[in-house]
Amino acid sequence: MKMHISLKFLCAGLLIYVAVFAFITPLSPALLQTNLTEIKPGSHTFELVGYNSHFQSAGSNALYLINDSTLSIPCTVTQVADESHLTAEVTLPNEMHSKAFAFVLNNDIDGTVFLETPLKVTDFTMNPDLARTTMPLFQHREAQFFNYPYQPIIMETIRNLMWHVPMWFTMFVLMIISFAQSIKVLMRGQRGGDDLLMPIQPERVRPHDNKAAMSAAVGLVFCVLGLITGSIWARFTWGTWWTRDPQLNGALVVFIVYASYFILRNAVTQEENKWKLSAIYNIFAFILMVVLLMILPRFTEGLHPGKSGNPAFSQYDLDSSLRTIFYPATFGFILLGYWMYHLRLRILKIEQAHENLLA
């Protein structure tokens, strides 16, 4: 009952691929800020700061100030200082139809990038009909290099998606194995029914109990890793190492429950009793995990994506570039977890055989 060698190579290959590409892929270009804070009719000169952009190497940059995404006013780029700084000029008419403004920059490498910024608007005559008469002048283009999507607060930490989320998937898979093996322990380890005198056959139950315990043990390791990567991510995006989020607190409770499972296992000395009691507790723990991590967060305010109105990665954040790394990462980590579980199981078997020899 060994894990096939090809699966081990697949696992290692996937994880190396993930480790490399999760870090070397650049973020999508974006516009960070401008020093233009107030606009009125007439001419303005302003600076624009980009992120991961290629103002210089792209050659020419087409810049527009757009009004409520229907009216676009071309700006003149007067000076490009470096890849991420440029100075531009814009002349604005007297009439506008809305107070919402955004910058759009178009070049051959970065594609189309936006900056939505609150501008203080004065002295314009508001003319709502203008929107229908003017067409946008720019054409939307994609960046010319492979990148991860730029998200305002998440920024570079989006790479953590490849580590943090697969940890939880792996934990779930391992806990499902543990749950299934626990049910088998109960089914095979039951004395009674029609034949009260039939003894329990240890060799029919022990393997399942070993599997349940070892997969829960490895699952617990992934739970801790998920908590650690999550905590680091929380520090950079939510500003604190730990916060009041239902999934975060639920994950900690899951950790405590499975830790209690091992305390229970150690507390019971009689083997048949241990199998039965820990299997029962394991089933409770699994149901609790489903409630805590999959049901409760949907009914409680939280910070995780996809909960209480926050956007989910699956909706539009998890675009194709993230998927090319995220799916291999998930699959690779699940394989790794399964591999670890097999190793632990084999070590345990050797230990038990050793004990039998000594006994």
């Binding site: 009793n273 805590l292 009914f299």
Partner: protein
Amino acid sequence: MGVSTVREIKILLQKEWKSEFRQKEHFAALVIYLLSTIFICYLSFEKISDGQTWGALLWVTGLFTSFNAMHKALDSAHQPQLLHLYTLATPGAVILSKCLYHAAQIAVLNVFSLVLFLLFFGDAVLIKMDWGQLITGLILGSTGLGTMLTFVASLAQRTGQGVGLMAILGFPLVVPLLITIVKFTRLAIEGVTWATNGYQLMLLIVLNVLAIVLSYLLFPYLWRE
């Protein structure tokens, strides 16, 4: 679950009630425990000025009292004549009667705790409270706690380690129930409509059903050597 199971449950409940009545000091001890806990809260908090603390404290007290109420369940299961009685009944009837009994006991204790809270902390923060929701929460919380803790107590009792292990195994398992009931109570104190509190109510019912179904399904594996 036929008519005979219902009859068994009835008989087992009567048995529990009689043994409770014979050992009144158990219940008296719980009442004294509750009284001193709430009195300590009263002395240390001096004044509770918001509904959230009021509701949370009510349930934290409820939780600890429920754990204490289980000690008797842990002790009494050791008695050999009870083991004999349990072999006469079906395991389903045994666990359902135990759960029902403890749920009722915890509900009574929680109502008592509510009265003491009103006595010591007053109802100044409860002006907007929806009493119907609070009582519903009290009942659902008590049944949930009663069921889960009964099962954990049976499990802990089988380990032979008793009280210490009971707390370790039990606390994490009741966390979802506890956070839901605390939120339900907080919203009830804020005086929201039933519809607004519907999610919590639904979750409470789901958790109760889960606890009862799991106990009913797993107890047959647990109760006999």
